[in-house]
Subunit: 221 residues, 2 copies
Amino acid sequence: MNRAADRLRQALGHAFNDPRLLVEALTHRSAAGPNNERLEFLGDAILNFVIAAELFSVYPQASEGELSRLRASLVKQDALAGLARALALGDCLQLGSGELKSGGFRRDSILADTLEAVFGAVYMDSGLETCRGLILRLYRDLLASLPAADTLKDPKTRLQEYLQARQRAIPVYHILEVTGAAHAQCFTVECSIDNLRTVAVATSRRKAEQEAARRALELMQ
Amino acid sequence: MNRAADRLRQALGHAFNDPRLLVEALTHRSAAGPNNERLEFLGDAILNFVIAAELFSVYPQASEGELSRLRASLVKQDALAGLARALALGDCLQLGSGELKSGGFRRDSILADTLEAVFGAVYMDSGLETCRGLILRLYRDLLASLPAADTLKDPKTRLQEYLQARQRAIPVYHILEVTGAAHAQCFTVECSIDNLRTVAVATSRRKAEQEAARRALELMQ
């Protein structure tokens, strides 16, 4: 454990003021002593916040739905487990004998939970900015491999830019029909560009326009 | 809107460096202009983190499950909507005409989402510590009304303290049976206190002991 833990501390690039926090973070509930479940709860919340704030600033045009999807792809179990493996976290786990025998140190769920607990431990040890720095360092490659910000612009914006770049007329949106009660309306919207027409139906005018724009873009590209 | 917004700024106790952030946070997607969905995504993550960190320190003995349940009770829609009503947030909402007619300014979901967006706006305006201060101020009464920390101690700890306070013998735990394969074991554990015996079955020795302790405590109280 000791040499493995030394390697982990180096890989994390963090010298703990209170090394017991790291021990706790590495202790699965199957082992004796204080285990990492509380730190995992804390670390999960920190990770979700740090990634949310990062995506918010990197993708100023992305919708809430796009931000949610991007975050989910980064904080999901197998992404975390991959980062944990790159740190050789499995070599430092404290597991009970049952988990040890059944190879718990290789299991995605245990590795992911433990990495979250490590984030919680770094936060408790040295505060948010240190923890944020660690998370963004570990996530550097995954963040760099996300889609470019401009591919996340909403369809109406992309359609407009596409047409402007080709000096074509801008699209015009018309509501063709509104049905349903005030609280559950359905909007049918048409997007016209010269002779091209696309139609979409959605629960708001905005959504129907975006969908019609997306279809127009698809037809032209 | 202006007098209502002034009152809201006073209730929040925060002078925005960039007042456009507050306007964006108060703009529902049904209205024209940049709406609050992105800020809500950010604010939701901040709220979950701030409450997690607060509960982590207020309840040093609580399990991950107890912390999760406590947090869920604080960040759920109707709790947030209650806080939003105390701020008269509904008076400041920018809604589209459909939502306005159907009373969107009174709806729990819109109020809760908007308050999260306000948290996101305060974070973008002035950073985490200012936002954390606001959240903890708004949540002061709800946090104060949570169960006392010692009622959340785990059953084994509570049982031990109960017996010590009465100068009685401490409980003894015995594994009566372990069944199942290495990966899906079932532990049957007995808790003995003088002549009292309780038995519990669970997927780990620890859980079975806690459950047996909980039953013993129930019988004695």
